[in-house]
Symmetry: C2
Subunit: 361 residues, 2 copies
Amino acid sequence: MASSPELVAVVMAGGAGTRFWPLSRRRRPKQLLPFAEGRSLLSAAVERLLPLVPPSQVVVVTGAGLAEAVRTDLPLIPPQNVLAEPTGRDTAACIGWVAWRLAASLPNAVMLVVPADHVIPDGIALRQALAAAADVACRYDALVTLGLAPTGPEPGFGYLELGEGGEAVGELTAHPVRRFVEKPDRVRAAQLLATGRWRWNSGMFAWRVRTIVAAIREHLPELAVALDRLVADAASVGEAAALAVHYPGLPRTSIDFGVMEKARSVWAVPVSFAWSDVGSWSGLAAVLPVHAAGAVVGDVVALECERSVLVSEGPLLAAVRVSDMVVVATSDAVLVLPRSEAQRVKEVVERLAADGRNDLL
Amino acid sequence: MASSPELVAVVMAGGAGTRFWPLSRRRRPKQLLPFAEGRSLLSAAVERLLPLVPPSQVVVVTGAGLAEAVRTDLPLIPPQNVLAEPTGRDTAACIGWVAWRLAASLPNAVMLVVPADHVIPDGIALRQALAAAADVACRYDALVTLGLAPTGPEPGFGYLELGEGGEAVGELTAHPVRRFVEKPDRVRAAQLLATGRWRWNSGMFAWRVRTIVAAIREHLPELAVALDRLVADAASVGEAAALAVHYPGLPRTSIDFGVMEKARSVWAVPVSFAWSDVGSWSGLAAVLPVHAAGAVVGDVVALECERSVLVSEGPLLAAVRVSDMVVVATSDAVLVLPRSEAQRVKEVVERLAADGRNDLL
């Protein structure tokens, strides 16, 4: 194993997120919610990285409206390391922007890209996997993703097939990725899982700065040209002004679809640690401490409740004989629905938006 | 029919009421809740009487802590007509106190006693029945109660059996009461109803002042002696001081158990108008305007809800696919339970009291 590469962690903390309304709001999306034992998911995500990457090497990318809240949430991270997108342009633009910023000074550094809103209880296993991914990224000049062990044929995720020819990296084994399948239906997902060769694409990546820059130049040339202009203008008019001009027009695509699915040297490090993207109120039960009533947060009196998500941020929430429900109370809004319908909170948010209830969004 | 007797309406508006928590609080019991088309039950109860009794002849008895709120709620009623009990001592003491106050000046007036927290949509029918009851009260020197048409074998109510020998009063027919049964179990209640002779005791009464005073002297002599002392002291030290000394020690019993069940000349006027005592959150659905989702009050977004009681006083309440539930939201407390368990709100209130959460009670 060669000497360890320099690491830069990039924590992607954009995204509005309506799935946790009424706790999540435009100014307070999921990653800032206190779902990690009272701390935010973002702060837990950063803390998981710190033993591997020093705070000065952690970059957090978020929306302009959230930058101050993110800086407050992350006192250990230098404020200038919190980068603000004027508007969200999906992951290829976000990752490209950071890579372009680093390209001049740290072309050989390895970027570890992680989302801010996942729950991963075993930080040691995560860091071990990221270190292995960084190793593979350097060894094969590769784009590397962590391949999560699927827990079921979830239709909402991206899937990747591990190719033959595993390579040992520490205690793990890396595989070339044979192909990707985005969001298969449940039947197709079950077929994939039956082969034992498919993993969930985690959205956690490792690559050298110059590798991802070259891959974007090859597969997303329009984005590369726009980023060239952005960086050039930033040197003359300042980054904020350059961002305001160039960022909103960046091509909008995901790094998976725009780059990973097309690039040649793409590897995956299969991992088996517990993971959740906490995709909905219903999913929260899986990541919170177990309570007789289900998942319980805040000032809650629950009498004979079961399998429910009972969350209050403010009012006392009293529930009697509530089963398989989600109840979330804040000082200005209350949500009640069955756990099986948790994703329909989006309809509530849409209805409020249509009604002009911006104070509640 | 003799010339109309002078009428005094006595509206009993005491009672704490925990069954409508979190809307009802110690300082804001059920009778002050806006369940009568946006107005309070109390104000609707008084308004139903006014065409029969002038405001100057309406007396409202409530708890000391509620007197100001009651006066504010009833701008038509002279403030001095709102009487404040230092503490609740059940209906015999309350009715006795008012009767003793009236005995010197209006011994032949008829007291019409009504609770403040019932829903009776047909005010004309109520007034017709009360006028008939007043007529019977004078004609037979009787204690008269309105006998409601039972809608089912409810175990929580008092039942009365109509005796033979009905007497026409206007368009109605009065009957001597043969006997009372308090809160039978459901099986016994069904047996009573099967005979067709039993009615619910409404808690709405008519009697001359001197008749009820004499009945209390006969059947509750200890109460009568205490009221004698209270009235005598009031003349010397003032009513407030006299109340503070004597009222808390008055014997605690209901007018039904203490007087009606023992007195000789007890009549009932059977009535058939719609009536509800709005006994629980679940019962609210029967008295509110019909909505696809059930009973809906306040800032509520209900998607595909049914047979539910959805009430907000403050926060937006959003419910999706909620069936047969009660959800009540205020700025500091939220209640969720199945409609079939609505009476268990008492357990929540008890728990909060045990936990010293007085701010929520």
